[in-house]
Amino acid sequence: MRHLPALASLLVVAGVLVALPFILSDYHVSLVAQVGIFFIAVLGLNILTGYTGQISIGHGAFMAIGGYTTAVLSRDHHTNLVVTMLVAFAICFVVGLIVGLPALRLSGVYLALVTFALAVSIPQIPLQYSTFLGGSGGVQTSKTVSNLWIYAAAWTASAILFVLAWLILRGRTGRAFRAVRDSEIAAVASGVELPVYKTLAFGISAAYAGVAGSLFVLATNGFAQPSEFDVFLSLELLIGAAIAGLGSLWGILVGAAFVGLLPQVSSSVPVIGVEHGRDVVFGAAVVLVMLLLPDGFAGLLARLRALRNA
């Protein structure tokens, strides 16, 4: 019975999402699709940062891997696009596990630094291996899709991956993740195998980012370029996860909307102009939100709920 309100809100969200394409213009559909893409990535990252308490400023790198997987498979083998997304999921899961291994020995600040360096370094690789990976010119998929296709794909994937996340988190795995976050020492003492769960969290969040990356590439006309996956992307993902806070579907929606929409919206701020409004307003907004709501949107909801129950 406790699930009823949650179920109701889920249905409302689903209903709204189904209705939107009929009301909005194509441009706005692409915007909401973008929110969907970020929803997937932020959801995945939130599993790592929110539930398991590990910081990563490098998930843009996983999006890059996923995006390039789709682009290259499509360019060379004309693979079905949805299949490429599945492949991206798998590849990024494995890569995430691999990255998660050294991450075992690190935490907090050190992990942030390493993942930051990862985010800055990965875009350099296509530049070096330009024959296969297209260099700065990028890689183009063999077919492109409409905004509506991306909208549908993004939100369908979101729904599936959300349910998957829910299943993972409510079980023993989820409890183990939370144990790792709350106290590493206590977790080990109570028999939780730290390495397994920390690495698993990395793998899962990377897989999600990979799918998001595939969709991201498709949303930019099927074009995978290093410049799309710069460090700012990783920063945005982390910001989205932080703004989401911990443990709330609405939080993740807010976080995804924040990073998916705000940069676009702030481009049209007067005075500062198209080019620069983006970063100035966005950056200022990020700083302000963190100062006011250090626990993210979910923290705000928790506080409101506490007030209501008091």
Binding site: S121, Q128, G283, L291, P294
Partner: protein, 336 residues
């Protein structure tokens, strides 16, 4: 006191136990220095690359030292340190446009940087200091984006030209051409580092800052205003960052908003290599990374200049896996 002699010996032993790993580090450094010296004498290319490496390394050292100062004081990494440095470099540019001479602008910029650093700490960092690590990381990340936007807005993203304070002449040392610029870069950075070191070592303010960073609660008990010490620390870090930016600019030829982005990564690697809590480590780490990068890119064909960043990343990763406390850091006990 009966135990006086006893614990003097204990003092020696304790220091001895610390000296063992320190000994390995010393061997590594001395060995490295000898290697470089021999190489420079053997080959002019090697010497040229080494000098270039030292110059860029000096810039990394300055920014790395800024990162270490902030980390020691507040236990957070300021991801916006590089952008802050870039901003202050633009300020210098503007001052020169308004008619000041280079060195007038230089010192004025350092003063402005100090104020900016302290204001940032008070306004943005103090409120989130006791929150989660993520909150402080995000604030500095937001600041990164904000500063980038502001600079682009005020000055635009196109390249700007700033005169080099050291001219374009060079020394000729035994067949090796050493531009005045490189010597100047190293000299300025070392001078600033020395001044900061002297501040910490010999002044009351420096002692207070060190105490506040080591044990804030105990420092407060003796009357140290810990909050103020943290703010001053951030101010000094901003000054060191400004020096890094000002010295980086001439070697990049043009001033643009991306000036410090990759330098930040190298500075991170340098700070971690040296030990995040060790100022000496930051300096040594910076020079090491600078020289290593220069030599590796020069001599190893597989690693072109495009792979410099991944190379720095690899260094960072390896150090963190083998000895997270870095060359000069004390081993932290992680009881798990």
């Amino acid at each position: 006191m009966a135990s006086a002699q006893g614990s003097a010996v204990a003092g020696f032993r304790a220091r001895g136990a610390e000296l063992a790993p320190a000994g390995a580090v010393a061997v590594f450094l001395v060995g490295g220095a000898i290697f470089l010296l021999v190489g420079c004498l053997q080959s002019t290319t090697f010497a040229r690359l080494t000098v270039e490496g030292l110059a860029s390394g000096a810039v990394f050292s300055s920014l790395a030292l800024a990162l270490v100062l902030v980390y020691r004081a507040s236990h957070i990494v300021n991801f916006a340190q590089g952008e802050l440095a870039m901003l202050t470099t633009y300020v210098a540019y503007q001052l020169i446009q308004w008619g000041l001479s280079y060195w007038e602008a230089f010192f004025a910029t350092l003063a402005i940087a100090f104020v900016l650093g302290t204001v940032l700490q008070v306004a943005l960092i103090r409120p989130v200091l006791h929150r989660s690590v993520i909150a402080t990381v995000i604030v500095t990340v937001g600041l990164f984006i904000l500063i980038d936007g502001v600079v682009n807005w005020i000055w635009g993203g196109d390249f700007k030209f700033m005169p080099s304070p050291f001219g374009t002449a060079s020394f000729d040392v035994g067949g090796v051409v050493i531009p005045h610029l490189y010597v100047g870069m190293v000299a300025v950075v070392l001078a600033c580092v020395a001044l900061v070191w002297a501040l910490f070592r010999f002044t009351k303010l420096g002692l207070g800052m060190r105490a506040a960073a080591l044990r804030p609660a105990a420092a407060a008990l003796v009357g140290v205003r810990v909050d103020r010490m943290l703010a001053v620390g951030w101010g000094l870090a901003a000054v060191l960052g400004a020096v890094a930016g000002l010295m980086a600019e001439p070697s990049q030829l043009f001033l643009s908003p991306t000036l410090m982005q990759s330098i930040l990564v190298y500075a991170f690697a340098a700070a971690v290599l040296g030990g995040l809590e060790s100022p000496a480590g930051a300096v040594v780490g910076g020079l090491t990374i600078g020289v290593s990068l220069s030599l590796v890119v020069g001599y190893v064909p597989a690693i072109s200049s495009e792979l410099q960043l991944p190379f720095a990343f690899a260094v960072l990763l390896i150090v963190l896996l083998i000895k997270p406390s870095g060359l000069f850091g004390r081993r932290e006990v992680r009881r798990v």
